[in-house]
């Protein structure tokens, strides 16, 4: 049992903190907010040079073989600077799904390119009718003589528009109809029948909705051998939630630091706000919740490769509680900044919005407490 950072992990944290502080200041963030791409390709190139895009990719595919803890260290720094580069979409979700489901040839074709920064991915899975149920996929993939024909609609696809390829989930249909299996397809962004409507994402970055109509794909775009991809999707989304949890911790820490500083400087009734016990206790509660969030994000990362139920419960625990703590810390940061907190002139609102986006993505607190409870049934007396 040892939860101290290794020397390598400490170096990673230091370099990530330094890079983000230097590259992601308020001006940069403002520029990105109105940028049609939502992130900087130059910064993405630097991510590649720093080895961050190769971080979780296995060494045999030109990666560094890092794990969820290293991803978490990076993501916490990204949170502190509200980084909007498509890291979750390409590296945490995209690369993980290809690594887990792809054939050797598919991995060989994609993973080294992700690692060197020449390929970006997105994961199109959510559908309006499914809400947060990962198993519910209406988009269909029907077997044809040449391969597959896809049809359906996807929503909330993170960073879909800059992606070179989009991993699309679809219910596999064979000659007898629906098979009960979900397949993942690697769809080129330029494919005929793929329509992307891109929008700015709450809290920074971009997302899109995707329409698939009469989209014909060759046989080898199906990742792997066509066995049900749902367990892999759950595994990858749990990993993404752990990573996003770490990002939320960075956001919350920045909000706490900023708010603390403000309450020391801002004077009312002849003394700083922080001289009032009601303010001091609020800040203490915020600090406690940041600490709890940090513990749970780390726990989810450390259990990301545990047996499915243990892994999923740890991921949902982190998602549920960090979502709740994030809302509290974000809302209180605005409250303690007073009227200025509600304006777009301060950055408090931008950080808060990213926390709201975090809570929404892949299901909010209530959904994940319920999933945690559902998965826990019978584990107590067992």
């Amino acid at each position: 049992m040892d939860l101290n950072l290794s020397d390598e992990q400490r170096l990673l944290r230091e370099s990530a903190d330094r890079f983000v502080t230097e590259s992601h200041d308020a001006d940069h963030r403002r520029k990105m907010a109105s940028d049609p791409l939502g992130f900087s390709p130059a910064v993405w190139k630097q991510f590649a040079e720093l080895g961050w895009l190769a971080l979780p990719i296995p060494e045999e595919f030109d990666g560094l073989g890092g794990g969820p803890v290293e991803i978490g260290i990076l993501m916490e720094a990204f949170g502190r600077g509200l980084v909007s580069e498509p890291y979750i979409a390409t590296v945490v979700l995209g690369a993980a799904l290809i690594e887990r489901c792809g054939s050797t040839a598919q991995k060989q074709a994609s993973l080294p390119k992700i690692a060197d920064g020449s390929m970006k991915l997105a994961f199109a899975h959510s559908e309006r009718a499914a809400r947060f149920d990962l198993a519910k996929v209406a988009t269909s993939a029907t077997k044809t003589a040449q391969g597959w024909r896809l049809a359906g609609s996807k929503i909330a696809v993170l960073d879909g528009h800059p992606a070179d390829e989009i991993i699309v989930s679809a219910h596999l249909h064979d000659h007898h109809g629906p098979s009960g299996r979900i397949g993942l397809f690697l769809v080129p962004a330029t494919a005929q029948g793929l329509a992307i409507s891109d929008y700015p994402r709450l809290g920074g970055g971009r997302a899109c909705n995707i329409e698939l109509s009469d989209l014909h794909l060759p046989e080898d775009t199906l990742l792997g051998d066509g066995k049900d991809a749902l367990p892999a999707i759950e595994w990858a989304v749990d990993r993404a939630m752990a990573a996003l949890g770490a990002e939320a911790v960075g956001i919350m820490q920045t909000l706490l630091d900023t708010t603390l500083e403000y309450t020391k400087i801002r004077k009312q009734f002849g003394r700083p706000l922080s001289a009032n016990q009601v303010i001091r206790h609020r800040l203490a509660d915020m600090a406690i919740q940041v600490d709890e969030a940090r513990s749970l994000a780390l726990r989810a990362a450390l259990k990301a490769d545990s047996a499915p139920v243990e892994r999923a419960r740890a991921a949902s625990a982190a998602k549920a509680k960090i979502g709740k703590c994030g809302r509290f810390v974000g809302e209180q940061s605005i409250q303690l900044h007073g009227g200025m907190g509600v304006t777009d002139e301060l950055e408090v609102g931008a950080y808060f919005k990213r926390l709201v986006a975090f809570d929404t993505l892949f299901g909010g607190s209530a959904h994940h407490y319920a999933r945690h409870a559902q998965l826990g049934r019978g584990t107590v007396s067992a």
Partner: protein
């Protein structure tokens, strides 16, 4: 980073488990489960202390030359967690975890030789004389006075919330020996034999129906000056040192988990009509479980820091605060899970020695009293409000 324990630590874990299996009797286990107050009564607590002592484990946190087992922080965590999981009785923490470390840190050689072995063996039973009717959170305003008379102090005043004063043969107390400009400066730390003439004890019943705390009165009580620990007027420093221990040895999550497990088992049983089938109850159980997960991780992060000689700092205030709040959430859940059975009051104590058939199933007997008595968790050892003050000051620098 690694969440799992290494081979050596796992071997220690099985050593602890087999010790518990051999020494924890069904009676002790049942009595502990049926104790709705904070501390076990001495009849079961001290039996367990003797078992621990005979194995050399009587005082896990003490240095080895005073009879401690010389455990690493990880071993202490494993030991406490295994004890909680198995449901062992509470030992006299006022002796082992409170006055013991103060005597070790600041006591004279004579005091160490006399008192420490008696704490280890369970021969002495200690209570804590800190709070007074007029001094709660503002502890250093205390007024119980010790006036020097030759080789003695003559003590007058009163202490309150004294846990197990009615069982204890010794008390450690903070008393005022002088009045200075700073009220903290005139306080001394003194060890009192509870049989000394002039001491009377009044029981205080808590809202759960338990006699655990008392008020103690001192009426011209003569105590040798040799019973003072350390220097006169330095008692506040020693007392604060002790409070650090009281606030959290940093090992509470296992006990919370065990409490939640018992309640979840009730919720999954027909006794409660399967309360868990209510989505509200199921979700709340998960909420509490996740809070315990977070606390456990914070404990393990502190532990990891301690293992490499780093100072965990003000995080002990976070641990105390969250432990007490989560404990209350667990007991609140307990009341809701047992449903209508929460209406039944069982006034007899101890609950493990009832000589009649209670009105509700045995597994439910403690739910309501634990909830009611448990309101004290956010009050004793520094209220939650005081802990938030400490966090603001020590962690946030405001």
């Amino acid at each position: 980073m690694d969440l799992s324990f290494n081979a050596e630590e796992r071997a220690f874990q099985s050593e602890v488990r087999s010790f518990i299996a051999k020494n924890l009797t069904e009676e002790m286990k049942r009595a502990t489960a049926l104790t709705p107050s904070v501390f076990s009564d001495p009849d079961i607590g001290m039996a367990w202390q003797r078992a621990l002592h005979s194995r050399g484990w009587g005082a896990p946190g003490w240095p080895v030359d005073h009879g401690g087992p010389d455990w690493t922080p990880a071993q202490r965590w494993i030991f406490e967690s295994e004890c909680a999981r198995a449901g062992v009785p509470n030992v006299n923490v006022m002796g082992v975890k409170m006055v013991g470390p103060v005597i070790i840190g600041f006591g004279s050689p004579e005091q160490k030789n006399f008192y420490l072995p008696r704490i280890l063996s369970g021969e002495d039973y200690w209570c804590q004389g800190y709070s007074e009717p007029g001094s709660g959170s503002d502890l250093s305003s205390l007024k119980t006075r010790a006036v020097r008379d030759g080789d003695d102090y003559i003590i007058n005043g009163t202490k309150i919330w004294t846990t197990h004063a009615h069982h204890a043969n010794r008390m450690f107390a903070l008393v005022r020996t002088s009045d200075g400009p700073r009220q903290q400066d005139g306080i001394s730390f003194i060890l009192i034999d509870m049989k000394t003439p002039g001491i009377t004890t009044r029981p205080i019943l808590t809202i759960g129906g338990d006699h655990e705390v008392n008020q103690v009165f001192f009426d011209d009580v003569r105590v040798p000056v040799a019973n003072r620990v350390g220097e006169e007027g330095k008692g506040w420093t020693y007392g604060k040192y002790l409070l650090e221990f009281e606030r959290g040895s940093g090992i509470a999550s296992a006990k919370l988990r065990e409490g939640l497990r018992a309640i979840t088992e009730l919720a999954e049983s027909d006794l409660t009509g399967r309360a868990i089938d209510s989505p509200d109850i199921a979700t709340r159980i998960s909420e509490v479980e996740v809070d315990i997960d977070a606390l456990e991780m914070t404990e393990l992060r502190v532990l990891s820091a301690l293992q490499t000689g780093q100072n965990p700092g003000a995080v002990s205030s976070i641990l105390k605060l969250r432990n007490s709040e989560i404990r209350q959430a667990v007991t609140r859940l307990g009341v809701d899970v047992i449903g209508h059975d929460a209406l039944a009051v069982e006034p007899m104590r101890p609950l493990y020695k009832l000589n009649h058939e209670p009105a509700l199933p045995e597994d439910m007997l403690t739910a309501v009293p634990e909830y009611l008595n448990g309101r004290a968790y956010t009050i004793f050892g520094g209220t939650s409000e005081i802990q938030r003050d400490i966090i603001a000051k020590m962690m946030l620098g405001i």
